[in-house]
Structure formats: structure tokens, C-alpha cells
Subunit: 157 residues, 2 copies
């Protein structure tokens, strides 16, 4: 699985996300790779993803942290169950809360190097911590709570 | 000023933001209106701003809360100084931290009705609270800390 992005293994129903859905062609196409303990994403902002000129937009930073975090939660949850990623029943997470600390202005050239780890698992809730760096500079930190997707969120199911 | 969006009164240097810059043509063009105590935005998501089908993307929700919050901080700061909005020296804020609680799945049809108020002002820091509703349903709440933009963030100045 290390060679495939987590998001590219989501089923079609879970692949509509503007941030990371492989079927959302106009979306950001955020891709996360799992190395057994961390979910890792390298993201190159588009030239218009600006806040002030030269720096990346905070909403984009929140988006990358969000999608990298829920993907990391899914990978870790499969691993905790000793199951192959993507096997049924599919495990996916949505974000219950997201906290981002913007520590330094983030150069828009990037690339954003984003690393998420699992801090804690409490039943259906997972707490994920994320560092976002450009080069050696830690530009933002995220902490989020993700929960397993309830069946009611899948329309028509 | 009630008839003009706060963001449409930012100077050109501050109008590059992907979320709310009037000069960022491919951006979200988030617009906030100040009524003297609240910053209010109505935002219609694009059809591809999905999380799961039928629901709005969390990163978009974070973005709308972010830009509405910093605009509200700017409007409140001018008002606190008894100055006309946009007068020099220009007052603008950037986000130091952003926390979003996703309370309910947010229907993508929207429109998102976003209302920000100032909770506290501490020197250069402002704490802003934001409610995001669709119809009568409170879908998300935000709390953010914004700080006055340091001159070093404006390139070439």
C-alpha cells in the first residue's frame, strides 16, 4: 500500500471530496501515503492559492491538514484491525473538529510537507496531530477529531 | 458601509486572497457585510465543493469562517477607533489560529449563512466567534484568533 495514495483506494462513494476525491476533477486532489505510522502528503499550492502575495491561504492549509488527517485515521484504523486497506466494510472518517495554529507565514511555492500521526483512539473517535512544513520550517500545526462515517451520511444508502 | 462588502474596501495589496480577494478571480470571492455588531456572509458552494455527495466540504467551511472572521475583525477594529473603514493606516488581520466544530452535515445547496462576532480584543489579538447555518440548522461553529497584519507580511514594502 505504500506505493498507492490512501485516497486512491477509497470506494467511489467516498471519492467525491473537493479536497482529496479522485473523482472530483476540479478538486485539490490531495494524496496521502501511509508508512505504517504516519500519513504523509506533499502538496504544491496553485498560484492563486494566496493569502497575502507570496504566502499560502489559510483555508488551503486547513484543507490539506483535514484531508491528510482523515486519510491517516482510515489507514491506522484498518491497520489496528489487521485488515487490508479498503476491504469491506469500508472504514472512513469525517471531521468532527479541526484546530489549526498558523505559526509562520507559509511560502506559496511550497511544497507543503504534511505529516499526520494518531495521538489517541477513543472508540469511534480518533485524535490526529499534523505538522505542516515548508523545507525545515514548521509553518502550521493541526489537531483534529475524526469520527467513523455514520451510514446516514451516504445518500441513497 | 453596510451596502459594500468589507473585502471590496480592502486595498489592492490585501485583495489577493483565494478566499475573499476581489482581485483573485478564480478564488471563492467570499463577501462579508458589517451591520455594526456582526460580520455576515451568505455563501453558495460550488457544485464540486463536496465532502460526501450532497454535503459541503469541511475545508470550504473552514475557509468561509476564516475570511468572514478576519473581515469582521477589521471592521470592528476600525469602528473601535472611530475611523472610516479602509482609511490609512489600513487595518487588516491574519489568522493565528482557527478552530471549527462540525456539528451537522452541511447541505451543499446551502446557502451558508455565516455570522461572526467579536468575543474579545486583547491588544493586537482579536477573538472571533462564528456560527454557520443552513436554514435554521446550526451546522458549524468557529472560534479563531486573528492578529493585526505585521508589515513584514507585505512583500516588497
Amino acid at each position: 500500500m505504500e506505493n498507492k495514495a490512501i485516497q486512491d483506494l477509497y470506494s467511489d462513494d467516498y471519492s467525491q471530496c473537493y479536497g482529496c476525491g479522485r473523482l472530483n476533477e476540479g478538486g485539490l486532489q490531495i494524496k496521502t501515503y501511509w508508512n505504517g505510522k504516519e500519513g504523509i502528503c506533499t502538496f504544491k499550492p496553485h498560484s492563486n492559492h494566496t493569502s497575502l502575495a507570496g504566502f499560502a491561504y489559510g483555508g488551503l492549509i486547513a484543507s490539506v491538514i483535514d484531508c491528510n488527517g482523515t486519510a491517516t485515521a482510515a489507514a491506522a484504523a484498518y491497520e489496528a484491525e489487521g485488515r487490508e486497506f479498503g476491504s469491506d466494510p469500508e472504514i472512513r472518517f469525517v471531521t468532527a473538529s479541526l484546530h489549526v495554529d498558523y505559526l509562520k507565514p507559509t511560502p506559496i511555492e511550497g511544497p507543503l510537507e504534511v505529516t499526520s500521526v494518531i495521538k489517541e483512539i477513543k472508540g469511534k473517535k480518533v485524535i490526529i496531530e499534523t505538522d505542516l512544513k515548508v523545507g525545515d520550517v514548521l509553518c502550521a500545526k493541526g489537531e483534529m477529531v475524526a469520527v467513523k462515517v455514520p451510514a446516514t451520511m451516504l445518500q441513497g444508502k
